[in-house]
Amino acid sequence: MTDSNNVVWLGAPSFPDAAREALADTQLRTNLRKATGTIRDKRLAVTAELDDWEQLRTAGKALKRRTLRHLDHHLVRLEEAVTKAGGQVHWAADAAEANRIVTALVKATGQTEVVKVKSMVTQEIALNEALAEEGVSAYETDLAELIVQLGDDRPSHILVPAIHRNRAEIRDIFRREMGKWGRPAPEGLTDRPRDLAEAARLHLREKFLRAKVAVSGANFAAADTGTVGVVESEGNGRMCLTLPETLITVMGIEKVLPSFEDLEVFLQLLPRSSTGERMNPYTSMWTGTTEGDGPQDFHLVLLDNGRTATLKDTVGRQALACIRCSACLNVCPVYERTGGHAYGSVYPGPIGAVLTPQLVGVEHAESLPFASTLCGACYDACPVKINIPEVLVHLRAEVVEAKRAKGRVPTPEALVMKAAASVLSSPVKLSAVQRLAHPAARLVSRRGTIGNLPGPLGRWTRTRDTAVPPKESLRAWWRRTRGGREGSK
């Protein structure tokens, strides 16, 4: 983990270990199955409505990939357009620099509070913590992010960061914590969704009306017009983006689109893939500043933080095309069982498994590329056709190479793989092993099946029986019965 980088959580266990803990939490599994199941069905229904859904996906993929190939060019255009429209652009190479820029901007206003919306990228850089060190309180205003913040918790989903919490838990958090942050929860708050939403509304309203500075993320920015956009469901974004005097937007450099017209594609792909809605309730766009209307001071912080390095990898870079819809999380059978915390990263699920190791370097997130069965459901769901399985196997190779480069002593796995490779590329050795397999297996079997085995194979045999390999392999059978017919190649 790099010093000031919060993409991966300091001290997080490897995926298999974190998953084991999550799997033991049956409430979590029930919450997740329900939530992902519902949203999965909704997404399928609304994407099926569009005859040109596949063409849209292809268009989205092509647009994103083309933009990534000429990213420098589009970013410079974006800077020009934003500046011309009255905004200021700042470039941040990494998390520390981005935090320095934002903190300085906030302090220049003389304020000690900011409201925040769409803040995944600010989680990536741990902005709240950096602001707190300088005496600035940052308030999350998205309902789910508010729950996470009040609960002193981590987000576990891209779109629904509190997906792991149920209503009763949320009520308890509100009752316990809201008072410490501002307006307390109403007396006798119940766990009815309406009451919870109302409590959050009252709590947040105070902050919106008081706030002079807002920090936002961005879903996209159009290079030709300098327009920045945020899509959301609750209207909290609209409040943050219009009420304060100063607006500071932190945006990953990969979010730029060549032109305003390109939004046509993404404003269709995003809501249908993410929430299963035809259109999201709030789409806010702004271009620089407008006198007498909205924030009078607009700053756009363009964040690299590992993205340029990711761009250099021609296979892996496709992960930067991600529009953060979370469809891949919702269809992922692994995510459905383990939840987001197991990934130990701001970006969980299949996209996290390919993006996180690239942003921080594979050696800092070794277990993530392996946290998948390669079933491909994510690739099928992705609105911009990111071939996540392809990137996963690509990164697995990088993990193995990194270990090889580092280790003077090969790992046990590497030794097994080496031995297996020599057998599996040679028919002679393979048949020799096959001849041995049956008697060897007989030694540990009972009544034709193999039960619990010691060592690493115990992980297999703890829950499954294994058949004893038969006496005769197919190739031996072929030689015995048809030996004369096929040449001796």
Binding site: F370, V400, A467, W478, K489
Partner: protein
């Protein structure tokens, strides 16, 4: 047609009956089956676990062996191994091999089919004259479903089997949790997925679970067996090869 059987190392060693079934099925349909003795493994396990340079000799051998004979097609009773050949042999050849190997891979790959693809698309049959009087449910393995897009070809073939009572598997397209070395590296998650898959299988009250890949069947079947459920597993090829009086469940 002259068809070469690529048995895959796993079937060869653990499930030779599947290979025998492919041979008898194709011969029954009037084709010539060859078994090139020099074949070994497609390299999937090494590739998917990140051991790419180690995969090269397997890719090379596959290309050599199946480029040599005059085959009209190469068939393998494994969706995931065919997926490996089709999607990734070229990648390995380009990354570690030479241009001759790339050319060879490009020449061989289009001839390689998974069993249901070969039967339905190339040989143009869905009714292979099989008889299998049992209650059967079909699990579409992820690689057949999403790498190869075999779609409902296996089901077309199964529906035409006489005597079969084919029942739909709930949540059929969700992964069983095998995933090769995933089952070892992420054993707990794999087990949780397996548990759900087994529940779905038991809900169908089928006697036999079938699929186009013995690896997934070994994983699910191993679990079903451990729980003494009495549900058996049978590769699609074995059901299609069965005729009146040949096999029980």
């Amino acid at each position: 047609m002259r068809i070469a059987l690529f048995i895959t190392c796993f079937n060869d060693t653990m499930f030779p009956d599947t290979g025998k079934a492919v041979v008898s099925l194709l011969e029954r349909l009037g084709h010539t089956v060859e078994f090139p003795q020099a074949q070994a493994c497609c390299g999937q396990m090494h590739f998917n676990t990140g051991y790419r340079p180690e995969t090269l000799p397997m890719v090379r051998r596959f290309a050599d062996v199946f480029a040599q004979g005059e085959y009209d097609a190469v068939v393998a009773p494994s969706g995931s191994c065919v997926g490996m050949v089709r999607d990734y042999h070229r990648v390995v050849a380009e990354q570690y091999g030479d241009s001759a190997l790339v050319e060879q891979v490009e020449a061989v790959t289009p001839k390689v089919y998974e069993l249901s693809e070969l039967l339905v698309d190339v040989l143009g049959v869905t009714d292979v004259g099989a008889h299998f009087p049992h209650r059967v449910t079909y699990h579409p393995t992820c690689h057949s479903l999403r790498m190869l897009r075999v779609g409902d070809r296996p089901l077309q073939l199964l529906r035409a089997v006489s005597g079969i009572d084919l029942v739909e598997l709930p949540a059929a397209d969700s992964c069983c949790g095998f995933g090769g070395t995933f089952a070892l590296k992420n054993a707990d998650t794999s087990n949780a997925m397996l548990a759900d898959k087994m529940r779905a299988v038991l809900d169908t009250r089928a006697d036999v679970l079938t699929a186009g890949d013995n690896s997934c069947l070994m994983h699910i079947g191993g679990g079903l067996n451990r729980l003494r459920t009495g549900v058996g597993t049978r590769h699609l090829a074995e059901i299609l090869a069965s005729t009146e009086g040949t096999t029980g469940p």
